[in-house]
Symmetry: C2
Subunit: 147 residues, 2 copies
DNA sequence: CAATAGTCGACTAACTCAATCGACTTAGTG
DNA sequence: CACTAAGTCGATTGAGTTAGTCGACTATTG
């Protein structure tokens, strides 16, 4: 039930972009530094996210990546699905890539997997990057005040 | 967020064993046939489950595997953990294999991953094999009546 | 002792993952 | 218009994991 590094990096990158939304585009290098992601690997991730329609980019000096819509309209489930495919633990309960099991009609496990899928989907679909950015800002402010 | 085949097979095997609990031991071949799992692969899985203490076995003719305790006392989370390791999507929110992230204190994502972990854990820890066996029997009975 | 059934460790082929590279295209700057 | 700073794209790689196999061994029963 592990999330791939790619999925994790993608979430972190999107979060970073959300934190700087409505400023200048961020270039790969800066995101890479801020979030500690190998630059060349991040390049691929951002490209994939762009092809999926979540990011836009500008070339040349002062270029970089930026969100194609406000962070409030993007949730974590979407970006994970772009990077890692369906959220479901096994295919027979996937909404996006359903496939049938042989013993499906008499399988006592299917219901359980479905519960898991639904729970995960609900949490990730509810979490927008707007909200995550807000949490991050709060955590950082708290840290500055404290310690 | 995918479950490995090994985890899936292990669940199915445990379910099969639960359905026949308190009868004779089941041998690998029968479980393999009933649940459509490659025999030689299943062998490994059962062995692992035995080493973890969930199964006992008897050699020789009339031998086979059987549960070491009643199905009501075994939940799915346990067996998945034996086969696939921690349930958490990433290590910093794992209870069983916690590890720290670099930017942990100012990370807006950690809370989310934790929610996911907790939700998955709750569902899987609540589901006992007793209950799953019951669901399976119900589904089969229903199927016999219907169609 | 022959047949049955689990035990153990090693092995492998295929695949996936994380990462890297080189060559190319586009955009801004002086 | 040349130079340079960026993103774009496809290919490739190396490490690691997964799913599955194999052969030799040990214990049990009849
Ligand atoms: S796992 Fe798909 S139906 Fe049982
Ligand atoms: S992901 Fe572990 S702290 Fe952010």
């Amino acid at each position: 039930m592990r999330l791939s590094t790619k999925g994790e990096y993608a979430s972190r990158a999107m979060l970073e972009l959300s934190l700087h939304h409505e400023e200048k585009p961020l270039h790969i290098r800066d995101i890479s530094k801020a979030q500690d992601i190998p630059e060349r690997f991040l390049e691929q991730i951002l490209l994939q996210l762009k092809r999926a329609g979540y990011l836009r980019s500008r070339k040349g000096p002062n270029g970089g990546y930026y969100l194609s819509k406000p962070p409030a309209e993007i949730n974590v489930a979407e970006v994970i699905r772009v990077m890692d495919g369906p959220l479901a633990p096994i295919d027979c309960v996937s909404v996006t890539a359903h496939e049938v099991c042989p013993h499906e009609s008499s399988c006592g496990l299917k219901g359980l997997w479905k519960e898991v899928r639904d729970a995960v989907a609900k949490i990730m679909e509810t979490a927008t990057f707007e909200e995550l950015a807000e949490r991050t800002r709060a955590a950082r402010a708290g840290r500055r005040r404290g310690a």
